[in-house]
């Protein structure tokens, strides 16, 4: 009974979300639409990052590398041969790649699959180590990808980067993928695999002793997360229409790390809330960078003020909600309805 009601409520809220997007795409200005797209893409990145980092408890720092692979693969596939020819002014592009061309959706999926493949291969050396060492190995991987994209000029156009990538990403693509990834990952977390992942997070040795194949479970988390990070990279590339190695520095990973820690490691709904807060919030806070006129006083704008305010907010959150906004809990309809009923009785 409850189960049926809950799935109905979930479906209804997804429908409501898309109705809102339908309204937004017709009535909001392009700036607001851009922010909505940003939120969706970062949500997808953060949710998939949280699968490996929060749910499985493997402190990995790979998302910038995976996002870069997805972004490069999919944008090289959607660019036309003529565009590539005009862009590669240092060294011409190597053959089969320069004439390959795919439609957007196919390019995104190929981008995701290639990233997943790289994740699969990477998992063998990476999961030989645990804890801090894992962080170092994956950090190194991100650097390797960056140096590769800077120096493999006949494939990536090196430091000049790619430009003129079709602006295919719209609200439907970005939110469609974000909701899809959220559903897939939530289903995974709530399955037997998900429980095994949590067991590994809480105590890997005990989990192995209970007969969990820890390598296999970690591999599933890593490859799933790689696939969605790759697709999100593709969406990001087709939103900002240009990519270069500087986009995929450690700062990208760092931003995602902030999001998942603020939201709560292991909590997907917490991640969703934190993404909205971090991405939209940093745009809202731009107001404090501007000079303000109150009565006849002028408060001069200090650029960077919003970052200070933002840091203070983060500190406050970490002080009062040490495990992030949601901790390890998830939003559930039962809890939500109970909460409402409780308030009514008062």
């Amino acid at each position: 009974m409850n189960k049926k009601r809950n799935s109905l409520l979930t479906i209804a809220s997804i429908v409501a979300l898309f109705l809102f997007l339908w309204y937004a795409s017709a009535h909001f200005n392009k700036y607001s639409i851009r922010i909505l797209n940003d939120i969706a893409i970062f949500m997808m990145l953060a949710v998939s990052y949280n699968l490996i980092n929060g749910v499985t408890g493997q402190f990995s720092l790979e998302p910038n590398g995976f996002t870069a692979i997805g972004a490069y693969v999919s944008s090289l596939l959607t660019l036309t041969a003529a565009q590539k020819h005009a862009m590669f002014i240092i060294v011409p592009m190597i053959h089969p790649l320069d004439t390959l061309h795919l439609p957007f959706l196919a390019a995104l999926i190929v981008g995701g699959l290639v990233t997943a493949l790289v994740g699969f291969i990477l998992a063998f050396p990476v999961f030989r180590v645990r804890g801090d060492y894992l962080a170092i190995v994956t950090l190194g991987f991100g650097l390797v990808i960056r140096v590769f994209s800077n120096n493999a000029i006949s494939v990536t156009n090196g430091p000049l980067g790619l430009k003129g990538i079709g602006a295919y990403t719209n609200l439907w693509w970005s939110w469609g993928w974000a909701v899809f990834s959220l559903i897939v990952i939530m289903r995974l977390v709530n399955s037997g695999y998900g429980r095994a992942m949590k067991a590994i997070r809480d105590d890997e040795d005990a989990a192995i002793a209970m007969g969990i194949n820890s390598f296999k479970i970690k591999m599933i988390a890593f490859v799933t997360s790689a696939f969605f990070e790759g697709v999100a990279g593709g969406l990001l590339a087709h939103l900002i229409t240009t990519i270069s190695p500087t986009l995929f520095t450690f700062f990208l990973t760092f931003n995602l790390l902030i999001i998942i820690v603020v939201g709560g490691l292991g909590s997907m709904t917490g991640t969703v809330i934190a993404t909205v807060m971090v991405v939209w919030g940093s745009e809202l806070l731009r107001v404090v960078d501007q000079p303000m006129h109150l009565f006849s006083f002028t408060i001069p704008g200090v650029p960077g003020m919003r970052m200070i305010l933002f840091s203070v907010l983060l500190i406050v959150i970490m002080l009062f909600a040490r495990e992030g906004i949601m901790g390890q809990k998830e939003f559930s309809w039962n809890g939500f309805l109970n909460f409402l009923r409780h308030r009514k009785q008062k």
Partner: protein, 375 residues
């Protein structure tokens, strides 16, 4: 309670009065500025903004007395933030033109938005040739990397009479990889020979491997387009190992820290740059340098000068366009011809300036002006 309500009412009225008085300058012409004021390349953005502020104090109005109002947004040196900021300026603040950004990768992400909305965008310092390529609304006031590479090649070939060069690239810096490629192309075309091509990484401390490569090939000159930190350390070690060749670098060398760290070893090190305060030839340039020194007690960097030029080119174009119509302003920007700016005389061709570069050199622990190379 009633008293409180009344108080709130009065306060609200006052607040709105305050807000209204601030918007009484509604006739101001709005120009957006997108710069990295925080983040890894903040120092460039800060310098640019200083230059723009000086320029604005020199020429605060356009169109016969209408104030030019600058709206500064920070992009943290990030692509996503730049796209957000440019779109905020265009669709929310409804600016007439945009100045920015600094790093080419960032400008490239804001450019398609401006291009699509038909808003002119002028970047002070993005040197990547792709920035303006195929665009109708994107212009810049700095020279491009292929030109800087060519200038360096010309200088070492003609003035230093070098026929062979070793190239050292920082493979973690897009700037370095790009510039080195363009230098190699130009130097080979002139008849020079590249005898050693070796790599470093930002943050390297020990360069003995690279020095061994260079030493084995006996080049006439070493071209090392990296940032000042690695340059200074490399120079020190190279001199210790007895390498006596002149080191040639790009505009990334232009930082006092080069001399502080490099000391005697960087004596004679030459590099291409956008601007030298001593070589300011135009009246506007001289005025700018004087005002800048008076306000900040230091010489304006190339970044500051370029920022000022972006401002002047936009302001000048608004005047010539005679309106705040974005398309007319863009036409006027693109038609800029023989404009006597701070960094030299600027003529825009398809949005790229045709202008001179300066060569600077370290001499007696100071940056000195060597020569100006014309295109």
């Amino acid at each position: 309670m009633r008293f409180f309500g009344r108080l709130m009412f009065v306060l609200t009225v006052l607040l709105f009065a305050g807000l209204a008085s601030s918007s009484s300058f509604a006739k101001a012409v709005k120009v957006g500025v997108v710069l990295p004021m925080t983040g890894p390349i903040a120092s460039f953005g800060q310098s640019d903004w200083k230059g723009i502020k000086i320029a604005a104090s020199l020429k605060p109005t356009v169109l016969n007395g209408r104030k030019l109002k600058l709206i500064l947004l920070d992009n943290k040196g990030d692509k996503v933030e730049t796209a957000n900021a440019v779109s905020r300026l265009i669709f929310k603040n409804k600016v007439s033109a945009v100045i920015g950004a600094v790093a080419s990768g960032n400008t490239l992400s804001g450019a398609p938005i401006a291009e699509k909305a038909h808003v002119p965008m002028v970047t002070p310092a993005s040197t990547n040739p792709l920035v303006t390529k195929g665009k109708k609304f994107i212009s810049r006031v700095c020279f491009i990397d292929p030109f800087q590479g060519k200038v360096a090649a010309k200088y070492v070939y003609n003035n230093l009479h070098a026929r062979t060069a070793a190239v050292i690239v920082d493979m973690a810096q897009d700037y370095s990889v790009g510039l080195a490629r363009f230098f190699i192309k130009a130097f080979k075309k002139m008849g020079g020979k590249i005898v050693g091509n070796t790599f470093i990484q930002t943050g390297d401390q020990d360069f003995s491997a690279q020095i061994a490569v260079v030493k084995a090939h006996h080049p006439d000159v070493i071209y090392m387009p990296t940032y000042y930190q690695e340059l200074a350390l490399f120079a020190r070690q190279a001199r210790q190992f007895g390498l006596k060749q002149t080191i040639m670098a790009g505009d990334g060398a232009s930082e006092e820290a080069l001399i502080k760290v490099g000391g005697k070893a960087v004596e004679g090190l030459s590099f291409t740059n956008h601007f030298d305060p001593k070589a300011a030839v135009t009246p506007l340039g001289k005025k700018f340098v004087k005002l800048y020194r008076a306000k900040y007690h230091e010489d304006p960097s190339a970044m500051a000068a370029l920022g000022a030029d972006a401002y002047f080119v936009v302001a000048n174009a608004i005047n010539r366009a005679g309106s705040t119509n974005r398309i007319k302003i863009n036409k006027a920007i693109r038609a800029t011809k023989g404009f006597k700016g701070v960094t030299g005389i600027i003529t825009l061709v398809n949005g790229d300036p045709v202008k001179s570069a300066v060569i600077q050199k370290v001499k007696d622990g100071k940056f000195v002006y060597v020569t100006t190379v014309n295109p």
